[in-house]
Amino acid sequence: MSICSQYFPEEPKAPVVATQEHPSVKSKVGIASLGKVFDSRGVYFVADYQKSNGNYIADVDGNVYLDVYAQIASIPLGYNNPVLHEVAQSDKMIRAIIDRPALGNFPGKDAEEIISEILKVAPKGQDKVWSALSGADANELAFKATFFWYQAQKRGYNTEFSSEEVSSVMHNQAPGSPELAILSFERAFHGRLFASGSTTCSKPIHKLDMPAFKWPKAQFPSYKYPLDANVEANKKEDARCLAIVEELFKTWSVPIAGVLVEPIQSEGGDNHASAEFFQGLRDITLKHGALLIMDEVQTGVGATGKMWGHEHFNLSPPPDLVTFSKKFQSAGYFFHDPEIVPNFAYRQFNTWCGDPARMILAGAIGQEIVKHDLSSQAARVGAYLFKKLEAVQSKYPEYMRDLRGKDRATFIAWSLKDAAARNKFLVDMKSVGVNIGGCADDSVRLRPTLVFEEKHADILVAAIEKVLSGY
C-alpha cells in the first residue's frame, strides 16, 4: 500500500467540484464577515479543515480540491495526518502548549530531546540550532548572528566593547550600531519585516512605504530552458552573476557581512541556479570573510527530493547558516561554528526564543520523512510528474513556458505569457478541482505535500490538460 494510503485510507479519490464560482456563496459570506475584524482580502476560500484529508482541502461550500499549493508550501504530510494527530494529543504537546517557556531562561527538562529530534534531520555539516517563529523571524535572527559574528571577528571574540560603541549605540549610531550589510539577490524573497524586507527584492508591493537598509542586490542567474540545450549560455550567465557579487564586495560603501540566498528563488518565480553558481558564492564569501546564509524556508524539508535544497549542490565547506520554517512548522536556523553563538548572554534573545509546541511537531515531521524516505518518494513522483508535464508542454507550449524543476522532485514551475494569462489559469484550475498557486507575475508553481503520489500527479495533469484544451 502506498504511504499516502497508509496515512489516509479515507482520502478522496478525486476532487469534488460543487460550485461554479470559487469562492462561492458560503465562502463569500465568511470572507465578508471576517473582513470586519481581520483583513480577508487575500482569502481564496474559507477552508473546512475537519473535512480536509491528505492532499485534499475542503471549503465551506462543499468543494474538495486537490491541493498543490498546501498553505503556501507549508503542509508537509497532508491534512489531518494521523501521526501528527497523535503527537498533537500527546502529554508532551499539551504541556508545551499550556506551559510555554521562556526557552532561553527556563528550558524544560525535555528541551534537549526536542531539539535533538530536529537536529537528526539537520543539513550535512550543521549540528546546532536556534529557534524562531516564522521565516522572516528566522532570517532576521540569522542576520543578527551574522552581524555579531562579523564584529567579533574584527574585535576579537572575547574583547570588550569600546566606550564609543557603548555610547553611540543608544543613539542608533555607528560604531555601536555599525553600518554593515547583507547581500541578497534581485527577485529574492526573504520575508517582510524591516531587515528581511530590505533583502527581499521580489515585487514592489512587498516593499513599498517601508524604511529599508541600503543593502546591495546582486543578480541571480536567468537561465534559458531547457537546460540541457543551453549549457554554454547558462554557464556564462553564472559567471556574469558571480562577477557582480565579487564586484559588490569590492565596491559597496559598507562592509558586507553575509550573503543570503535561496536554493531556488521561490516567490520570485522559481528561479534556479547551478551547483557551480552556489559553490562560487561559497568561495566568494570565504574569500571576503563573510558568512553564507541559505534560506531554506520554502525549499527545505524534502520537497526538492533532498531534505534540504542546497544538498543538491554539495557545497564545500557547508553553508554557515541555514534558515527554515514553513513545512517544518517550527522556524529557526542551523549552524555549526560555535563562534556564531555570541560571546555574551542576552544578545540573541527574546521572550520565547521559539515554541516547543511547534518544535515537537518539527521533530515528528522529520521522523516521518526519514521513516518513509519521503524525500526520495518526492523525487520519484516529481520525475514522473515532470515527464508528464513535458508532454503537456509539447502540446501547449504557449501555456507552459520554461518548464523548470527537473530533478528537483515536485518543486516544479512554469510560466505563461503574462500575468493575466497566469491568473486566469489559476482560477480555471479551481473549476476543475485543483488549488494551485502562482509565483512572480507570470508563473505557476507546484508545492504539494510530501505524500503527493503518482495517482495525484495523474489527476493534476488531467486537470491541467482539461483547462488548457479549452484555451
Binding site: V37, G42, I57, M93, I98, P204
Partner: protein, 489 residues
C-alpha cells in the same frame, strides 16, 4: 531544608487556602516552596543544561524546569525544587502552570486541528477563525479598537504595527494617487521615495523588541543593541518620577511637563516625518518606569495635533496584571490609542486598531505565510474566558493593593538597601530599586535559594510579574522570604 516552612505565618496561610480562587484551579498546589538541592541550579539542572548547550545556546538559563511537575504559581525544576514563581517566563504565564482549563483547551478538537493543519490564515482561514477571534482576542479588545491583526511575538506585533503606520502615513500623503513610477523603481533598490524615510519615535529606556525595526526603537540597554545595524530614528526622554509619588507631586508634574515639552520639540525639529510614536504604559524591561495619566494624555494630545499614529505597547502590561485588563485603561484618555500591541500573557500576539485606514489599501502588503497562529488564538480565548469567569482582573487589583501595602512596610525597614517602591494601585505590577546592582543580584539569588523565582529589570530594579492567580497567601510567602533575605544582606 526549607526553614521558612516551619514558621507560623505560613502554616496559618495553608489552612486558609481552600477559600481562594487559585485553589479552585489547583487544589494540589504546594502550600510552600520546596528546596531539595543545596544550590539552584542543582546538579540535575546543571547537567541537563550542559547537554542542552551542545546544541542550543544556553548562556541565559536560570535553571532547567520540569513543566510536568509545575503547578499553579509554583515552578518545579529538574532537581525537584518547587519555587514560587513571580517572574513567570518573563511575565508570560497568565493562569499558572498546568491550568486545568487550559489543558481542556489544549485537548479540544479545535486545538488539535489548529496544531496539525496550520493554515496560511490570510489565504485559507478556517470556518471558525472569526468565532475564535470574537470569543477571545476581540472580546478582550480595548475600548474603541474593534479590529485585529495577528502575529507571533511581541517584536513581530510591534513591527507589523510600524508597517501599518508607515503605510498609513504614506497613503495619506499620496491621497487618491497610485504609486509613482519612480516609487516603484526606487523601492527595489531600497531607496526613497519608494522606500520610506519616515521614522518611529520612541522613549529613552523603552523596550519594544529585538528584530531590526523594533530594536531601533528599543533603548533599554547597550547589550540589547550592540553590533546590530539600526535605523536613525529619534528618541525622547521618559519621565523619571520621584517616590513616594504623593510627596513629590509638584516635582513630578514639572518632570512630566519637561518631557512633554521635549517631546513636542523633538516632533517639531524632526527633519523626517514621524509616522508613529510607541510607548509602554510602564517601561518594563527598562526598569519599571511609570508615568501618570496626565503625561500619557499629553502624549496622546501631541500625537493627535501632529498627525502621528499613537501605538501603545501592552506586550508586558496587558492582560490583567496592572489591575485593568489593559494598563492604558488607567489613563482614561479622551480618545483611544490608534494601535495597541499585545503578546506574552495572551499567548497570541498582534495588534488592535480601530481606524480601517490602518489596513493598507491593497491586499498582500501586511502579509506573511502564517499571519498568526490559530492554536494561540484558541489559547487566548480560553485565557480571556477564565479571566472573566473568575474576575481575575479585580482579583489581581486587590491582591496587588495588599502586596503593595505590605511591601511598603517591609522595604521601608531597609532604606539604605532599597527605594522607589512603585506600582501602587497597579495590580501586582510592582517594582523597586536596589541601592546597587550587586545588591539586586544578591537579592535575586537569595530569593531563589529560599524558593522564590523572581526577576530583575533596568539597572538595579526588581520586578514582580506573578500570574493572575497569585493570592494573598502567595504574597505572604514572598514577603516572608524578602524579609529574611533583606535581613541577611
Amino acid at each position: 531544608m526549607y526553614r521558612a516552612v516551619k514558621s507560623n505565618p505560613l502554616k496559618r496561610i495553608a489552612t486558609q487556602s481552600k477559600r481562594f480562587v487559585c485553589s479552585k484551579y489547583f487544589p494540589e498546589e504546594p502550600i510552600v516552596p520546596t528546596i531539595l538541592s543545596s544550590h539552584i541550579p542543582g546538579p540535575v539542572s546543571t547537567k541537563l543544561n550542559n547537554e542542552l548547550g551542545e546544541v542550543y545556546s544556553n548562556s541565559a538559563t536560570y535553571f532547567v524546569a520540569d513543566y510536568f511537575c509545575s503547578i499553579g504559581n509554583y515552578i518545579s525544576d529538574a532537581d525537584g525544587n518547587k519555587l514560587l514563581d513571580v517572574y513567570c517566563q518573563i511575565s508570560s504565564i497568565p493562569l499558572g502552570y498546568n491550568n486545568p482549563e487550559l489543558i481542556k483547551a489544549a485537548q479540544s478538537e479545535e486545538m488539535i486541528s489548529a496544531i496539525v493543519n496550520r493554515p496560511a490564515l490570510a489565504c485559507f482561514p478556517s470556518t471558525n477563525y472569526k468565532q475564535i477571534l470574537e470569543d477571545g482576542i476581540l472580546a478582550a479588545a480595548p475600548a474603541g479598537l474593534d479590529k485585529v491583526w495577528t502575529g507571533l511575538s511581541g517584536s513581530d506585533a510591534n513591527e507589523m504595527a510600524y508597517k501599518a503606520a508607515f503605510m498609513y502615513a504614506h497613503s495619506k500623503k499620496r491621497g487618491e494617487n497610485g504609486f509613482t513610477a519612480e516609487e516603484l523603481k526606487s523601492v527595489m533598490e531600497n531607496k526613497t521615495p519608494g522606500a520610506s524615510d519616515m521614522v518611529i519615535l520612541s522613549f529613552n529606556k523603552a523596550f519594544h523588541g529585538r528584530l531590526f525595526g523594533s530594536l531601533s526603537t528599543t533603548r533599554s540597554k547597550e547589550i540589547h543593541k550592540l553590533d546590530i545595524p539600526a535605523f536613525p530614528w529619534p528618541k525622547t526622554p521618559f519621565p523619571q518620577l520621584k517616590y513616594p509619588l504623593n510627596e513629590y507631586e509638584a516635582e513630578n508634574k514639572a518632570e512630566e511637563d519637561r518631557c512633554l515639552q521635549e517631546l513636542e520639540s523633538t516632533i517639531k525639529n524632526s527633519s523626517k516625518k514621524i509616522a508613529a510614536l510607541i510607548v509602554e504604559p510602564v517601561q518594563a524591561e527598562g526598569g519599571d518606569n511609570h508615568a501618570t495619566p496626565y503625561f500619557f494624555q499629553g502624549v496622546r494630545d501631541l500625537t493627535k495635533k501632529h498627525d502621528i499614529i499613537f501605538i501603545v505597547d501592552e506586550v508586558q502590561t496587558g492582560v490583567g496584571a496592572s489591575g485593568k485588563f489593559w494598563a492604558h485603561e488607567h489613563w482614561n484618555l479622551t480618545s483611544p490609542p490608534d494601535i495597541v500591541t499585545f503578546s506574552k500573557k495572551f499567548q497570541a500576539a498582534g495588534f488592535y486598531f480601530g481606524n480601517p485606514d490602518l489596513q493598507p489599501k491593497q491586499p498582500y502588503r501586511q502579509f506573511n505565510t502564517w499571519c498568526g497562529d490559530p492554536s494561540k488564538a484558541i489559547l487566548a480565548k480560553a485565557i480571556y474566558q477564565e479571566i472573566v469567569k473568575s474576575d481575575l482582573v479585580n482579583h489581581t487589583a486587590q491582591v496587588g493593593d495588599y502586596l503593595y501595602a505590605q511591601l511598603k512596610a517591609l522595604l521601608g525597614k531597609f532604606p539604605d538597601k532599597v527605594s522607589n517602591l512603585r506600582g501602587e494601585n497597579y495590580g501586582t505590577f510592582i517594582a523597586w530599586d536596589c541601592a546597587t546592582l550587586e545588591i539586586r543580584n544578591q537579592v535575586l539569588l537569595s530569593c531563589r535559594a529560599k524558593g522564590v523565582n523572581i526577576g530583575g529589570c533596568g539597572d538595579a530594579s526588581i520586578r514582580l510579574r506573578p500570574t493572575l492567580l497569585f493570592e494573598k497567601r502567595h504574597a505572604d510567602i514572598l514577603l516572608s522570604v524578602l524579609e529574611d533575605v533583606h535581613k541577611a544582606l
